[in-house]
Amino acid sequence: MAGDQANRLTSGGLIDRSTALSFRFDGENFLGFKGDTLASALVANGVKLVGRSFKYHRPRGILTAGSEEPNALVELRSGARREPNTKATTAELYEGLEAASQNRWPSLNFDVMSVNQLFAPIFVAGFYYKTFMWPAKFWEAIYEPAIRRAAGLGRAAGVSDPDHYDKAWAHCDVVIVGSGPAGLAAALAAGRSGARVILCEEDFVLGGRLLANGGTIDGLPAAEWVARTVAELEALPDVRIMTRTTLFGVYDGGTYGAIEHVNDHLPVPPEHQVRQRLWRIVARRCVVAAGAIERPIVFAGNDTPGVMMASAMRSYINRYAAAPARRIALFTNNEDGWRTAETAIAAGLQVAAVIDARPDVSPAHRSLASKGGFPVLHGSVSAVDGGKTGVRKISVSLTGGARAEVEADGLAVSGGWNPAVGPTSYHRGRPKWRDDIAAFVPDGVPPGMAAAGAANGAFGLGACLREGFEAGAAAARDAGRSGNIGSMPAADDEIFSITPLWHVAGKGKAFVDQQHDVTASDVELAQREGFQSVEHLKRYTTLGMATDQGKTSNVAGLAIMAAVSGKSIPETGTTIYRPPYVPVAIGAFAGHHRDENFHATRLTPSHHWAAELGAVFVDTGLWKRAQWYPRAGEKDWLESVTREVKAVRSGVGFCDVSTLGKIDVHGPDAGAFLDRVYINAFSSLAVGKGRYGLMLREDGIVYDDGTTSRLAEDHYFLTTTTAKAGLVMQHLEFCRQVLFPELDVQLTSVSDQWAQFSIAGPKTRDLLQEIVDPAEDLSNEGFPFMGAREVKLRGGLKARLFRISFSGEMAFEISVPARHGEAMARNLMIAGEPFGVTPYGTEALGVMRIEKGHVAGPELNGTTTAGDLGLGKMMSTKKDFIGRVMARREALVAPNRQVVVGIKPTDKARRLRSGAHIIPKGETPGPENDQGYVTSVCFSPVLDQWIGLGLVERGRERIGEIVRAHDPLRSEDYDVELCNSVFYDPDGGRQRG
């Protein structure tokens, strides 16, 4: 019956029996207790079949009790919160938990895809490289879709993740990974010394292996020692214990990545809280006390539900009071495995037999066996009879050749222990082999890191405490902390004797990587086919590439590989260990930066005023800029923009241009400095005047442009394009600090200090006279074209006024301190009312610049020279400047370069589009006659037709020529005329008037 917890032991465990939690697995209702994982609750309820394997869809149960689990993967939660591939062994139980098995159809019990097992003789490692090649087009149409559907594990939600994530920084002297005996001892030593300590534990309970094993430390039962130790640590002000937190990566400079599962133990995160938090922990030292992972032995049928790691079985029995089986057999090659027999007996479970692959068994265990009434069989498990209902019978090959059979409903396996060498190997250090424990231990650890306890190959409890305490003390000392560390916790060391056994030959599939269905014969096949490097083995068979990252399979795989190739295990070597230590949700890495918060947003000083007016905004880098200001009745953007342009050209308009980069260039050598960064001269510029400047990169290509004005002898005000503002500042600082440090010049960004507006149109002066103090002379004589100076406004506010024009009209730019920016926009509207003032956006700005033939972003594309832009004459020949020499290279001054030219369709009704290519008339388009392309287009209200600029081969020599605008992407092809790029007022009379 569902929910009866038939396999729950009547006493013991770290579960809260007073808090029952109901949950659903594959639609069936169950009960568990607070303190359970989904896996332990399933064990308690006698559920053995939990999943299907990747390739053969074989029935699988629960193998482990931790994050190394290859089999018990579920889809946790439902709807938008569905989490595929969640390990039941780490999912904390909560009220109402919903989980479903995956990679099966229609049900876990009856999975049609298990038909794949019939094809298993063909579906060997790498079979797909040898077939599915004919006919070629069948791959995308038939084979691949079928393979894709069959592959994969769980299903992602398919809709936007509704939860929030954030990220944070933490700083400490010592970060400790793991809260087992070594980790706690390390924290004690470091904490007592006065160090700032962070202890990360991936579990929701502290204690590590002590939770499953018990033991005695300092004369106390392990649980009491843990409680006492935690209390002491919590009382230290600079020790921070982080449970549900996995340290997943080790990065340069003592930076560690960790993931905190803040609210994964709840159905839904509480309001204002995140699901998970990504930590970047900056630590002077790191102690890895992450323990070791018990490894399986590969034998036929080792994937049968009910076959479980021996330590996991202890964990279920001792920590969760859940019996994975009633009659347990144990298969071990080491002393530690025997603990499971002891645990089973203590819990009142039956031990069917212990199969020990070693020649000798200790007298203590012999007497345990005789007291417990079970046989000790010397030999190996050669097959398991079971299937989806779980283990029934175990075949044993006895040493000497005889066979035996054991009836049991559970088989505990211990093949020894692998230290968790992931974190210690993320800087490409290769672990080294130790024969005495038949395992790899850390070597070449990252700077500042030390491993301690089982993670370092010290498996005895006493050794763990000792190594942990010493490592914690050393780490604190290295971080400069020297407080009294008190006495070291002590415990006895158990004996660890192991006779390596990796693979038991036998009939039937013996799995190395259970999740990826990689068998021992796949490893042999890879070897036979020449995939002899461990990396080739991994890639060819996919061994170790599943969601468990090979935690239980890698070492066995390479041991079998070594045996087949006749090399030793250390000669065979390991693959490279890579972060993250456990899979981490992509959402957690993104944190807050998603949706509208993906990147910051910059607002201009008049933003809220423009928004009130109903402006449409466009993203320009991080900026939101008013693109146009629609009015009631206007049918589309073009009508609005055309109105704005006409209003400027016939009256007056204004536009917020505060997004331009603005830099104060101060100092006695400011002019000399600008001479070196611009291609034209600035030291000769008179105070009170501005000049258009062009900057090159050192490779001679145009970098940026803008107007720079001289406000005082030793003060220039430089502007950059919106796009390059930050980069130009960086470049100028490089010039100042690195290239020309002898120049006395100071640079400050004042981009945010000034709200700047362009005011343009024949009535500009009329409007401005309403704004500025009547004493200011704005006449052509008093304020000539390219003049620049501070003025007083009505009401006394000071502003900077620049007579520059991007639109080609009589125009000024006016700057006021930014907090007055919104008032300036409002005042321009009030003062301009009699003149029909019209605010205009970036589209109208763009139209007018194209009409005037001014180059902008599409022409300054990082591949054009000053000559290409028609600005070659600006290059001074009297001074050195950045880019001067490289700009002279032959291909950059070749006569056939694509240069800026005006373009207009011969049919005035035709719309011109950017990105159309220019092909000579009468020729078939091809790479040999692709002569350029249209860079910028607009509908010109003045000319009443679409016009544009383009980069066209020898364009300036071909004015008047009719060519084709070829636009196959949009199925267009039409005649255009190459023309002067200045469409409007070519002699510039209007802007000077």
């Binding site: 969601t547 993203d619 490289m886």
Partner: protein, 417 residues
């Protein structure tokens, strides 16, 4: 042994005991007509084309580790020919055409999957740049389509159209683009080249060049002894500067880390290859089910083959901004490869200033898609001493002449390409 479903079925009957090695693990001979340094995709493809197209079979490929251990085995497996500048456009299309027949050429299933490569745009300026590029492709006979937002909503409804910081406006789609199984490309070329007599020599590190009396390269010194060569070609992207330095050359190349990422395997979610236009993120889903994705390079010179955390965050931020349904999908592995970042973002395939030494380098992070094309034109250069016409602009002296091929317009700043 020819690979097919029939040979597989036959092998199954004998428990797969009779398969031969996919390629011969050769020991070095004293001399070869051509020695290729680098047993990655490019080196092996070069050897195969030398043997199959140009009739030069006395060829050795020297690999310091195991074949495919460099960038061939560490990339996001994307293939495409959607380039916009002369030099690149034709070359990558040549390569694409070779992808389209690779499996039949090699008798090896490299899982070339033409599922489409889509570059998203988020602004008018980006659309215009894509229009220019797409038209270049079309003029060169390459498929390209410019899609608007409505078309994308229909095709990929899960993209963030609703509350994006930089709304998606449309995309440039090359349907013939897609992915290929990177390791299988390496093994396929090794398999086919070996069958034609090419010696593939692993664990053989080149430590120097030998020269004849005229200064011409006469062979290489290796960890397995000296090997004579009529010509030596280097295809060691990531280590080009180090190998070239042995011949006394400095290159316009810097080595940088590029990270790539794979998620846990999930059921089919993403139909094609996508690149985010407002951040650093590109993604596809492998046949096994993992999301394979990447972003920008870490940004500084490095040979460490491992990445930093800020870039992982940056890439995942891009991923979440574009496809918010991947939030609960878990990142399974991150790794870092060494990129040969050239000074204009474009490769170099040319004779070197040292007689007898030929360079194939500077692939930035675009080397995988170039594998067959690179092999073909490099074999052409080695066999005929003349650039193939589709590689004629990949010259080493283009920087001296000012004839850069700079798709991104970033100039001589490798970490920006």
């Amino acid at each position: 042994m020819k690979y097919s479903i029939f040979s597989l079925a036959r092998a199954a009957l004998s428990g797969h005991k009779n398969w031969q090695p996919t390629w011969r693990d050769a020991a070095p001979k004293d001399r070869y007509d051509v020695v290729i340094i680098g047993g990655g995709g490019h080196g092996l493809a070069t050897a195969w084309f030398l043997a199959s197209e140009f009739g030069i079979r006395n060829v050795a490929v020297l690999e310091k580790g195991w074949i495919g251990s460099g960038n061939a085995g560490r990339n996001t497996t994307i293939i495409r020919s959607n380039y916009g500048l002369p030099g690149n456009t034709g070359f990558y299309e040549l390569s694409m055409k070779l992808w389209e027949r690779m499996e039949q050429d090699l008798n090896y299933n490299a899982m070339v999957s033409q599922r489409g490569v889509l570059n998203l745009y988020h602004s008018d300026a980006q659309r215009d740049a894509f229009a220019r590029r797409g038209n270049t492709m079309r003029i060169n006979g390459i498929d390209a389509e410019l899609l608007d937002q409505a078309a994308l909503r229909k095709m990929l409804p899960f993209l963030n159209f609703e509350n994006a910081r930089f709304p998606i406006q449309g995309g440039l789609l090359q349907r013939r683009g897609g992915t290929a199984r990177h390791d299988a490309v390496v093994w396929g070329y090794a398999h086919a080249a070996s069958a034609l007599g090419v010696d593939i020599i692993q664990n053989c590190e080149v430590t120097g060049f030998t020269r004849d009396a005229n200064g011409r390269v006469a062979g290489v010194e290796t960890s397995r002894g000296e090997i004579g060569a009529g010509k030596v070609g280097m295809a060691v992207a990531g280590s080009s500067s180090r190998v070239a330095a042995m011949a006394g050359l400095r290159l316009p190349i810097e080595s940088h880390v590029l990270q790539a990422f794979v998620s846990e395997a999930i059921k089919p979610l993403l139909p094609n290859v996508m690149t985010f236009g407002a951040g650093h993120f590109y993604v596809s889903q492998s046949d096994k089910g993992g999301l394979v994705f990447g972003g920008d390079i870490d940004g500084y010179n490095s040979y460490a083959q491992r990445g930093n955390l800020p870039v992982v965050e940056d890439v995942c931020e891009g991923g979440m901004a574009l496809i918010p349904m991947i939030g609960r999908v878990r990142l399974l592995r991150q790794w870092g490869g060494i990129m040969d970042m050239s000074m204009d973002g474009t490769p170099i395939i040319d004779k070197s200033p040292v007689d007898g030494l030929y360079i194939n380098a500077g692939w930035c992070y675009g080397g995988f898609k170039a594998t067959p094309g690179s092999g073909f034109v490099f074999a052409h250069l080695l066999a005929r001493d003349q650039s193939h016409k589709e590689a004629a602009l990949f010259r080493l002296d283009r920087f001296q002449r000012g004839a850069m091929i700079d798709e991104k317009g970033q100039g001589a700043q490798p970490n920006l390409h």
